[in-house]
Symmetry: C2
Subunit: 539 residues, 2 copies
């Protein structure tokens, strides 16, 4: 098809669908396609591009889809819409009216495909809704979303510069920028974007293992002394998973005791290291956490760095959740000492609001990742290429193909600037302080920590009237333990908001509120408190 030919389209179509149709809520109009002249009931996937003469139908179909997506985006930001429309697993398996998950032998019409798209969104969870607080990742950043759409449309893979020229260079630019934010010198920094923080943490252990015993790559773990890892007893479970995967064993991950605020006690760490040495083990690695998952605590990084230097351990900082605070001049002091780490996990898909997934492992030694992971497959990494093959970064990973997770982040950085991220993050922290100060003044809520939050985690119990006068006891704890799950079940059925809960140590089930959604305002914090009371006051 020539450029000239591109205007040779059916003139009737040029009138439909009108742009205005994008503004109407169509979700409840089953047969709206009739109304605007587009009938997809007799059109099938095979009629779309690359089919001959498929262009017009393809564009019409994509317009319909786009309309569905725009409607969803509008509803996401609409506080009068539900966060979710809850249904049980067996209901989906059985099928709902007009929406069956069964996979057919014969194709279904595009009309049905559009219905399926609408229903998939309808029965999902609006993770960008201003009242979705269930996860550390929330929000629907419009620029990030555009980045994801474009990435999907480009549909390429990160293994070589050859097939992802722009994206591989963008990754390099982003990694350099992030290491500047970490205050690492650029000629000593390296890194890669991976499928989530657990994977980034795994790479940090892998790099530490290789750095100490390079022959572990060929000979395996069994040829070397027993290696021991240390992490906060409140650190993320991915360190355990990493040790399991890497053949080190979860028994060789030593949990280090925390103080009352959930931070590693440095003296305990050092004592554990000395004990492991005395047993003849090799203390290999410490995972310090900058922003624990539940409490949002920051481990004392400088103290830990001192200990790691003294005893020759690899210092990793899991800043998956806390890393975003580095973008804020006001809050970055909480991560002081991170510049001394050997590796850092930092997930822009958390408080920076980048769409899922976007996680980086940053390594404070150039070339280590490549040496650790490379296998040099000839069919991918030819040395006799046209261009500088040092940009073929695929051998830095333990994967082969790798999803493009950088473009959305790059585009957001362009659109917001460093200053935009800073504002966004400061706002989340302010909301956490606002919630904390409100709860502190109430008798029907009890905070897990009285002091001001360091991150946006605010942990608390709602105490229903039936328990307010009851003295502290095992019986009261047992009853309180059931309050959060019951409220959670009710809020999911109503779809009015979503917030997580869990027990931790001796603390029975409590709510963990987190702020990472730029759409959330103080009014939503007020709503949260009122709604928890409404849902739980009869318990």
């Amino acid at each position: 098809m020539s450029r000239d030919g591109q205007n040779d389209v059916n003139p009737d179509f040029l009138k439909t669908p009108p742009a205005s149709s994008l503004w109407q809520d169509k979700d409840n109009q089953e047969s709206h396609t009739e109304q605007d002249g587009a009938d997809f009931s007799s059109i099938f996937a095979k009629d779309l591009l690359p089919a001959n003469n498929g262009e017009e139908q393809t564009m019409r179909f994509l317009m319909e889809v786009f309309e569905i997506l725009l409607n969803y985006i509008r509803k996401t930001f609409d506080r009068t819409s539900k966060v979710l429309d809850f249904h049980h697993p067996h209901q989906f398996l059985k099928g709902m009216e007009g929406f069956t998950l069964e996979l057919p032998d014969q194709p279904e019409s595009l009309e049905q495909i559009l219905v399926d798209c609408r229903d998939t969104l309808k029965y999902g969870v609006k993770t960008g809704h201003p009242r979705f607080f269930n996860q550390l990742s929330s929000g629907l950043d419009v620029i990030g979303l555009v980045g994801e759409w474009l990435t999907s449309t480009a549909n390429t893979n990160m293994f070589t510069f050859e097939i992802a020229p722009v994206f591989t260079i963008m990754e390099e630019v982003l990694l350099k920028k992030m290491s500047t934010v970490l205050r690492w010198s650029q000629d000593e920094s390296d890194g890669i974007f991976l499928a989530g923080g657990a994977m980034s943490n795994l790479y940090s252990i892998l790099a530490a293992r290789y750095k100490r015993f390079p022959e572990v790559k060929t000979q395996g773990v069994a040829s070397f002394p027993r290696m021991v890892l240390f992490t906060s007893e409140l650190g993320h479970y991915s360190i355990m998973k990493g040790a399991m995967v890497l053949g080190l064993g979860t028994d060789n991950v030593i949990p280090v005791k925390c103080n009352s605020r959930g931070k590693i006690i440095s003296a305990e760490l050092e004592a554990s290291i000395i004990e492991a040495k005395q047993k003849g083990f090799v203390p290999l690695y410490v995972n310090a956490t900058a922003g624990t998952t539940v409490y949002g605590a920051f481990d004392p990084l400088n103290d830990i760095a001192d200990i790691c230097e003294k005893h020759n351990l690899w210092m990793h900082v899991d800043a998956a959740w806390g890393g975003g605070l580095l973008m804020s001049q006001k809050h970055r002091y909480k991560l002081t000492g991170i510049e001394r780490a050997n590796s850092v996990t930092w997930n822009p898909h958390k408080i920076m609001g980048v769409p899922l997934q976007c996680s980086a492992i940053l390594i404070h030694e150039k070339g280590l990742l490549q040496n650790c992971n490379k296998m040099g497959a000839q069919y991918l990494f030819q040395k006799d290429k046209l261009y500088d093959v040092s940009y073929d970064t695929g051998d830095k990973t333990i994967l082969c193909g790798r999803h493009v997770d950088v473009f959305k982040f790059w585009l957001m950085w362009k659109a917001k600037g460093t200053s935009g991220f800073e504002k966004q993050i400061n706002k989340c922290l302010e909301l956490a302080e606002y919630l904390h100060s409100k709860l502190k003044r109430r008798n029907d809520f009890k905070l897990v920590f009285d002091d001001k939050p360091e991150h946006t985690n605010v942990c608390f119990w709602y105490i229903p009237p039936s328990l307010q006068e009851m003295p502290e006891s095992a019986e009261r704890d047992s009853q309180l333990h059931q309050v959060a799950p019951k409220i959670k079940a009710r809020m999911m059925e109503e779809g009015s908001l979503m917030v997580g809960y869990q027990p931790q140590g001796h603390n029975v089930n409590f709510f963990r509120m987190v702020f990472s959604n730029p759409a959330t305002n103080k009014s939503d914090v007020d709503f949260l408190i009122e709604e928890l009371v409404r849902l739980g006051k009869d318990l």
Copy 2:
């Protein structure tokens, strides 16, 4: 914002952009936004939703982006457009006119963001172009693309049913369907979608290791006998990476010799296993390949299954590339015996045309993955939830969060039916046979294998006139070795097509043609041959 309020939009905007603008090629019109009344030069990310009154600007901006994407999609399928517009890494780093990858402190306007989106696509590689043959994954499936757009818009994570109710059930439905295709009984099958085939292969080794020595999870590899893995000498390098990561060591991966067609020689496999046993090692696992990366060879699965049964080894089939042939009644016999495997890697993102990424590991034992990988983090996997928590599948992975890779695949299956995938795959195989038979008749090309291709891989040398009369010799090989890289460099500079090359064993650099793009037709095969001659005849 209320539903009523949704129609309260600026009436001027309803006229712009007109639907017809979606049909015009705007890439070369720098200031086209003036022409249709939308000016984004003074609008910034902060003005979009969730900003107050941000809805109208958000919708306008998204319309502009959508237009850019539609233009790109049209061009992707347009044979007169280039496959790529090649630039070197240093050019991107230095910046092109109007397109700099540098990340700013202050926000850039949405006008610039739109320019950046256009330029990112402009300088990328059109992996869906009918003449993009560089990778096992190619094509731009419109339904799959819609699936990815919707997935991005839903922006959720796979760890729990709670926040991905529809998607977790879709995963279950897809895995069951795939195991039916494998002819596994459903109550014995399990699996999960992962970030690519290398990761799926890693999980298979992980599961095999755990099945043999469950305590390896807690105690690590060092407490157990030396485990040995076997794979084809032409198998994928991810088995080596897996062994490295898992602490088994690459020395403990035994490459098994292949016959002249690139298939494992069963007798060699058995001899290697017996030898390892005699050395006191534990032969743990065999990786059989169904569709090798370069030659497209299928290992003899039934023979390998017999050996694995006899010697008690885990049988994995890496069908990342070949798995799609199971969808074809005509070609599935090539994978006979796969039903006896303990695990299978199958990448729908390859010949089935699902957008990147979509890879499944299927395990022939219910519950094994969960037991192997679970850590039971309380903050995610509460047992006191409202619903049947067996659908919280997040603990089956070694990740925490996991990208939603299932929706696009599910939607494609609905839209094409099993029969649609079958047709698509049969067509790719027919094209491979067409190319093979054409090359066989020519003197200026030489096939690596004379017999008919089993998969869509067709491996061959182009022999320029200067080498055609030269007798076989080291000197001729050395010259021939340089032909493919030189042609490849020229084709990239011209942007007319993309096809990969590599050496393998004693074979000097040869082209590996593969068909997985539904947009490719016989005319493109004819073009490929003519173009290689045109680019290489003076070498």
